[in-house]
């Protein structure tokens, strides 16, 4: 239909305001990351007095950024991989089988998503300690403990989203595979997974992002060998001088992997979100 004049005005003004609100902080991040230290200590200037790449060099030595980066990568990739694998099995069961406890399981998994993390942080910490004492498996302050914790954070959404993806794949395909003698796992692997690839990709990046950005559990469950970026970036502000330019260059570098992944896959994420929201 034809848009009235007033709407075009509202849209123009509205989009300008929203763009400014979004862009100004991003602009501050990018320009601050190439400013000399003197610039970030004095009154704020919109334009850098000089352009320098020093913050990008120095940020690695001011704090142990590389270690934190590796820790975050190990934990986030591990959590994403396990979360997706486990969600694939669970979603397949929910989508393809009618069994007792199906609704109870769905409800339980979904409801864990509304629990505030603070609620189970301490008990989980104590459970990990107790497990460690009893079995010698170190879950506290180790990568594996964080991986196990984080994989459950993305699990509900992953299962929810994959179920709606799997539901859209005709069951006839499964049955054909069964007739050819494939078992459930083979059917999942050969038939269902290939058809749900975009959903799996979107769920993977979601799981990765969840782990990459988590702060609360990382603040309690890491030690100096397992500190993740979320906690490690705070080191910059505990120095005698706050290197804001280095904070911003480090922030930019650690943001790039998730922003690129997210933008590449946002279309599929949207599909998953609406499928969930409409049901």
């Amino acid at each position: 239909m034809r848009e009235p004049r007033w709407f075009q005005w509202v849209r123009g003004v509205g989009l300008c305001l929203l763009t400014l609100f979004t862009v100004i902080p991003l602009y501050v991040m990018v320009t601050t990351s190439v400013k000399p230290l003197a610039d970030v200590q004095d009154t704020f200037q919109w334009l850098p007095s000089a352009l320098t790449l020093e913050p990008y060099v120095d940020m690695w030595s001011t704090v142990r950024l590389a270690d934190y980066f590796v820790n975050s990568a190990v934990v986030s990739l591990g959590a994403a991989a396990f979360s997706v694998l486990i969600a694939l099995f669970a979603a397949y069961a929910i989508s393809r089988y009618r069994f007792r406890g199906r609704d109870a399981f769905r409800f339980t998994v979904l409801s864990t998503q509304m629990f505030p993390g603070i609620l189970f942080l301490l008990p989980l910490y104590l459970i990990y300690a107790t497990v460690g004492q009893a079995t010698g498996i170190v879950l506290q302050g180790s990568h594996i403990g964080l991986i196990i914790t984080y994989l459950t954070f993305s699990l509900p959404f992953s299962i929810w989203m994959l179920v709606s993806y799997f539901d859209s794949i005709p069951v006839d395909l499964d049955e054909a595979a069964y007739i050819d003698g494939a078992g459930p796992v083979q059917t999942l692997w050969r038939v269902v997974i290939p058809a749900a690839k975009p959903g799996i990709a979107a769920v993977s990046i979601y799981a990765f992002m969840t782990a990459w950005g988590e702060t609360l559990f990382a603040s309690i469950m890491t030690d100096s060998d397992s500190t993740t970026l979320a906690i490690g970036l705070r080191d910059y502000s505990t120095q005698s001088t706050v290197y804001w330019n280095e904070v911003m260059s480090a922030s930019l570098v650690v943001s790039i992997p998730v922003v690129l992944g997210f933008l590449a896959l946002q279309r599929y994420l949207v599909q998953g979100l609406t499928a969930g929201a409409v049901k």
Partner: protein
């Protein structure tokens, strides 16, 4: 997983002769879904359900630093922690109540503003024009950034009296010495930072919701002479209701439980005007080492969230039955 596979493939040494014939295939079909669910269930139990029950139990204990190592033998004190947390004549009760009020205000404002901004942006970008894809991607960037980097940016902008926000305000003639991260200003800083990161999510969900509305409804309305504003009011907003309901509930639960933004923005010393409930519980648990009290507050928080969610579910199911 290894346990099941070795158990099922190991030869049944010493099994009775008829046993092998009577046995069904190695995995009975009925157990397949349960086996598929087992890993998910195991980790959910380990990380969420069992610790939640543990937390409930701890809320009845006098659990402080002296009993932390032997937490299972901490003395049972019944409802004492709850009585202390809810004693509005005592310091803890007053603080809890204040923190609760701050959290409600924070969640309502953040979710409301995010929803309006998200809806506006979704409507503005509904029709294609040059640069639409670019704007769409741009608006999503704050949501894609890791939380700590977005909070760091805002912290830098709001930090110091000559930081970006203050410097710009005085350039515009609105200046004055102000410290945005202290006192009552802290609430505003917290809310703006949270909205900046959160509204793209509302935009994303509402944009997808808009796409599911068939266009011929608009055409029919236009034939009947409905103007654009009328169409938005009578078609778009009602048709977006299912998406909006889920969206608002999810956003509310997220912001209500937010820990990251205040923790990263203010470090340990969160001003009382921005002291969200999860920060309050964190301080009671990990700074003053009063874990029993922290657990009691957590349980109260959970009860509140359950009531909210149950109310929401009742409301939506009644509406869908009436529809």
């Amino acid at each position: 997983m290894t346990v099941t596979s070795t158990a099922s493939t190991a030869p049944p040494s010493g099994a009775e002769p008829n046993g092998s014939r009577a046995r069904r295939p190695r995995i009975s079909k009925r157990s397949v879904p349960y086996l598929l669910l087992a890993p998910a269930l195991f980790f959910e139990l380990l990380v969420h359900i069992v610790p939640m029950l543990g937390g409930l139990w701890m809320s009845f204990l006098r659990l402080n630093q002296f009993f932390l190592r032997e937490w299972m033998s901490a003395p049972f004190t019944g409802l004492q922690n709850y009585r202390f947390a809810l004693d509005f004549d005592g310091a803890a009760g007053v603080e809890l109540f204040q923190s609760f009020a701050v959290t409600i205000a924070f969640a309502v404002i953040t979710v409301g503003v995010s929803w309006v901004m998200g809806l506006a942006a979704a409507l503005f970008l509904q029709r294609s024009f040059p640069g639409r894809t670019l704007l769409r991607g741009l608006f999503l960037v704050p949501y894609a950034l890791p939380i700590y980097t977005s909070v760091m940016i805002w912290k830098f902008m709001l930090d110091r009296s000559d930081g970006m926000v203050n410097a710009t305000l005085s350039d515009l003639g609105l200046g004055g010495e102000r410290f945005w991260l202290l006192g009552n200003n802290a609430f505003l800083s917290l809310t703006v930072t949270a909205i900046w990161r959160l509204w793209p999510f509302a935009f994303l969900a509402l944009m997808a919701g808009l796409q599911s509305i068939p266009t011929d409804i608009y055409d029919a309305a236009a034939v009947d002479g409905a103007g654009l504003w009328q169409q938005i009011r009578t078609i778009t907003v009602p048709m977006l209701q299912p998406v909006s309901q889920v969206l608002i509930l999810v956003l509310f639960l997220w912001t209500f439980n937010d820990f990251n933004v205040p923790y990263l923005l203010f470090d340990q010393a969160v001003p009382s005007s921005a002291n969200l409930i999860s920060i309050h519980i964190y301080q009671n648990s990990f700074l003053t080492w009063n874990f029993g009290l922290g657990s009691a507050m957590s349980t109260l928080l959970l009860l509140f969230l359950l009531v909210i969610t149950a109310g929401y579910l009742m409301l939506t199911s009644r509406r869908s039955r009436n529809a």
